[in-house]
Amino acid sequence: MPINKSRAKSMKKKPRTKVAMDAQGIDRSLTRIAYEILEHNKGGAELVLVGIQKGGVYLAERLRRKLGVMEGMEVPLGILDINLYRDDIATGNSKPRLGKTEIPFMLDGMKVILVDDVLFTGRTVRAALDALMDFGRPKFIRLAVLVDRGHRELPIMPDYVGMALPSSLWEEVTVHLKEKNGRDEVVIEAT
């Protein structure tokens, strides 16, 4: 096959999906975030993890395992479904299927690490902050995300980031996790 032809073909057919992070990359990022959390907070005392349904919950569980190995301690883990706090419910634009919220510990005076998979507009995090405040008055809340894809619509900043992934608004960023769909991968896709 003439070389030019195949080249022309590949030029025409731009790949629509790209793997931004593979399984190893995700694991390394989480390990680094776990170290940063410990360094930043001078150990694991008073720390609690809260994962946002659903991706954030799996990532929070992984962080908890890593923190357990590093510090030899069990960090309490909570699960948060933010749907009841969404800003598009009151306007009647959406009515999501509700998931479970389980925060089986007091938040008063605790150092909360809020975990999510993708940080985008910041609206989910805003809802999560409101939800957490209904459970008590934490000492502080810090935000850990695996991917920050930009395009914030609210003044929200992550404290721990796995990967900054600049994206276009017409692209879609998906975090696949073993616990959810059998593989670890961050994919960016043109739509």
């Binding site: 959406s94 009515k95 459970f135």
Partner: protein, 308 residues
């Protein structure tokens, strides 16, 4: 799956998927009632009217609490303290309320079909909180949530409903709901208290209580509705209690892990003995707690919006 309907008038035409969605949603919302701040902002700015033409403590309070925990404004209207006492018709009352633009109207009425009239007439969502001898869908939903919670599933269970079946909207809604969810249902009571159409409802009819509760997973006792008996042919309460009161002796015939339910209010010693009502098999107070969760789920699901 979504709840693609404006109103909840009964369970007769509600599908298994819809019931499952309601129960799952209730299950997720239950946690709110155990928080120290028992409120979420979801229904902020929505108005819910409780229009109760019949006396009620638990259902009305339960709806009111459900609305308030979701941040909706709840208004209660009862016949004695409103224009209903001055002779206003149901339809006029409904039109008047509609003009104040509520979002959801909850109605209890002694006439079967009253909620259906409102549903046809008004653009608002209507929830039936009990109409005559017809249906009481939210009671059946909270009963099913309680059963699912304790037994893991409803499918394959045998449920005995005992008492005044003919006058019981709780029984009717539970029969429709439980059969849709795959349970087999037995009904039991004196012949005079059986509805004429019971043969068409897909249940086993029993007149002997011991026989009816033999080997069942769930016993649902009904309240004897003295206020609806205006006929001397009905048995006396003593006579009724002798045959149909659930006591510790009778309960031994059911499964070892049988659960005993009662929609309340209880006539102690008539349909259920105090030892059973307060005993280890009884889930009567769990039913009340689940009532709030199920009603929160319906208020949430009936809200307009695209189901995600």
């Amino acid at each position: 799956m979504k709840l693609a309907r404006k109103d909840i008038l009964g369970l007769q035409d509600v599908s298994r998927e819809e019931i499952t969605l309601i129960l799952d949603t209730a299950d997720s919302l239950k946690e709110i009632s155990s928080r120290s701040i028992k409120k979420v902002p979801t229904l902020r700015g929505k108005t819910v009217i409780n229009l109760f033409y019949e006396p009620s403590t638990r259902t009305r309070t339960s709806f009111e609490i459900a609305a308030k925990r979701l941040s909706a404004d709840a208004i209660n209207i009862s016949p004695t303290t409103s224009s209903i006492a001055k002779g206003e018709t149901l339809i006029d009352t409904a039109r008047t309320l509609e003009s104040m633009s509520p979002d959801i109207i909850i109605i209890r009425h002694s006439a079967s079909g009253a909620p259906h009239i409102l549903a046809r007439l008004l653009s608002q969502s209507i929830i039936n909180a009990g109409d005559g001898f017809h249906e009481h869908p939210t009671q059946a939903l909270l009963d099913m949530l309680t059963i699912r919670e304790k037994k893991g599933t409803i499918e394959g269970l045998t449920v005995a409903i005992v008492g005044d079946i003919a006058h019981s909207r709780v029984a009717r809604s539970n029969i429709y709901g439980l059969i849709t969810m795959g349970a087999s249902v037995r009904v039991c009571g004196p012949a005079l208290m059986m509805p004429r159409d019971i043969g068409r409802m897909g249940v086993d009819v029993h007149y002997d209580m011991e026989e009816a509760i033999r080997g069942v997973d769930v016993i649902m006792m009904l309240r004897i509705q003295f206020e609806r008996h205006h006929n001397s042919r009905y048995p006396s309460t003593r006579e009724y209690a002798r045959s149909y009161c659930l006591n510790e002796a009778k309960i031994t015939g059911a499964k070892k892990d049988v659960m005993v339910m009662h929609p309340g209010p209880i006539n102690r010693g008539i349909e259920i003995s105090p030892e059973v009502a307060d005993g280890p098999y009884s889930v009567i107070l769990d039913q009340v707690a689940n009532g709030v969760a199920v009603r929160m789920a319906l208020l949430y699901l009936l809200l307009p919006g695209e189901q995600l």
